[in-house]
């Protein structure tokens, strides 16, 4: 098992994104640090456009995440519908 993570700025735009990530990854661990939130998961973390859209009540482009992204790790695969971080090993 290896940890993948994503870190986002703490602000009003990411609040619901983080909520969506927690909904879609029930085992993810949320670490709140000064001005940032780091979310750790084992081997795989998925961010789904639809879940975010349901929470924010408007269409969302996953590339919008780039504005508030701080860092991440793992292999990445992004499509229109989801962004997946994973380790192969």
């Amino acid at each position: 098992m290896s940890t993948v993570f994503i870190a986002l700025q703490t602000n009003e735009e990411t609040r619901q994104v983080i909520e969506a990530i927690v909904q879609d990854n029930p085992d993810a661990v949320v670490n709140e640090q000064p001005a940032m939130v780091k979310i750790d998961a084992q081997d795989r973390l998925v961010i789904r456009r639809e879940t975010i859209e349901e929470l924010i009540g408007r269409p969302f482009d996953l590339q919008e995440l780039q504005v508030n992204l701080i860092t991440m790790t793992g292999n990445l695969d992004q499509t229109d519908d989801e962004m997946v971080l994973y380790w192969n090993a």
Binding site: A35, Q66, N88
Partner: protein, 517 residues
Amino acid sequence: MDMQVAKKKLGLKERYAVMTRGLDWTPSYQKMEDIYPYVAYEGIKIHDWDKWEDPFRLTMDAYWKYQAEKERKLYAIIDAFNQNNGHLNVTDARYINAVKLFISGISPLEYVAHRGFAHAGRAFPGPGPRVACLMQSIDEIRHAQTQVHSISNYNKYYNGMHDFHHAHDRVWFLSVPKSFFDDALTAGPFEFMVAIGFSFEYVLTNLLFVPFVSGAAYNGDMGTMTFGFSAQSDEARHMTLGLEVIKFILEQDPANVPIVQRWIDKWTWRGYRVLTLVAMMMDYMLPKRTMSWKEAWEIYFEENGGALFKDLARYGITMPKCAGQIALEKDHLSHQAWSTFYNYAAAANFHTWMPDDDEMKWLASKYPDSFDKLYRPRYRFWREQAAKGNRFYSKTLPMLCQVCQIPMVFTEPGEPTKTCYREVDYRDDKYHFCSDHCKKIFEDEPEKYTQAWLPVHQIYQGNCFPEGTDPTVEGFDPLAEVLKFYNLEHGRDNLDFEISEDRKNFAEWRGQATRNI
């Protein structure tokens, strides 16, 4: 932000294909090797450039849209910070020395990275990496500019930052970060990508930006926090590029594996040595600490790097050999670095000081195996001496490592009271090294590293005095002349924080900000 999301005619993958691959063409009247002259000599074999994948699938039009949004946010915050005298809200004026280190040590590297990625991108025949390098090149110049803009507000009030680029090219310790990037920039395009894209951005950059920038936020520095996070949002993309580069090269040909492994070993060590500055910044220069250097190393290198190298094991890539020595140094690195700068405070563009009792307590709790035994007694002695009016400033020039250019202050792995020295005879000269790893790097490429511009050698050769200086006159003071060459003012830009103008002004201005006087 309330972004309008237009209905797209094509999916992300198709858009990316059309907007990158679709823009490339095959030359008809020039030979490929004439157009891309640097792509073969490093020995890396690429059979199919189309196998390159950009996992973000970012196209230029989307790139401009999101970068513009980041800039709008950043400059609005910088204006607000400046208009509200935000600099007076930092925890205390010692913190500003971390900003000085950043602008003179790190920001000029952003500019060099801009040049490096422009150069590397131009050298690759594949459109995928070319577009990714173009974006990163533009990102890096944005970082240099936004850092200069954010920090210029501090330069209006505090000393040592007035000529940061001049300093970067001359001041002794700034040759450490400068020579690191110059080394990468003068390598071939593939080595540059492994050096900066992978080893620095992917493996090490989290250690620079995440804890430091989070630390800036914790210390009330909204300006630095904002440019830091804005830059870091690009770094996430750079890290992805760095990992992609490695996977792409390794998948193309098994003959690439040993070349890449050697570069990873070399550049992880080179990058780690540069991060010595960050280690002391985290443990000593942030009045309010978020995490220790050791903790940051454990999270971002040992845990995260461990996962990464486990993932890369399927290609035959292993954890860099230097990881063992770094693990032994993590209890000592920041303390040895801070001790060095405390001693050389007369020749630096920022102030140093001794930690107070509370800070020593924090250090002891974070470094239970080393601090009380080795470093607290040393600091206590220096504090006593300073109280008696004997604050010591070393004026003797140190011996430098030929590769990392850091003074030879590090100790033997596992023997923290014995200084580590290594040497090599090459042609008719003797060369000195701080470690087995720097020595190995030299032995692999002696022709390159014999050309190093070592500040101490240059001072002794008389190349670091203002033009027309006569070192033979009675009462010649070499340090005074070197400071003039650096464009630093003795007694203002250097020496101990306790006696600094910064400390006095900050106290006075903060007083004015809270009372009517």
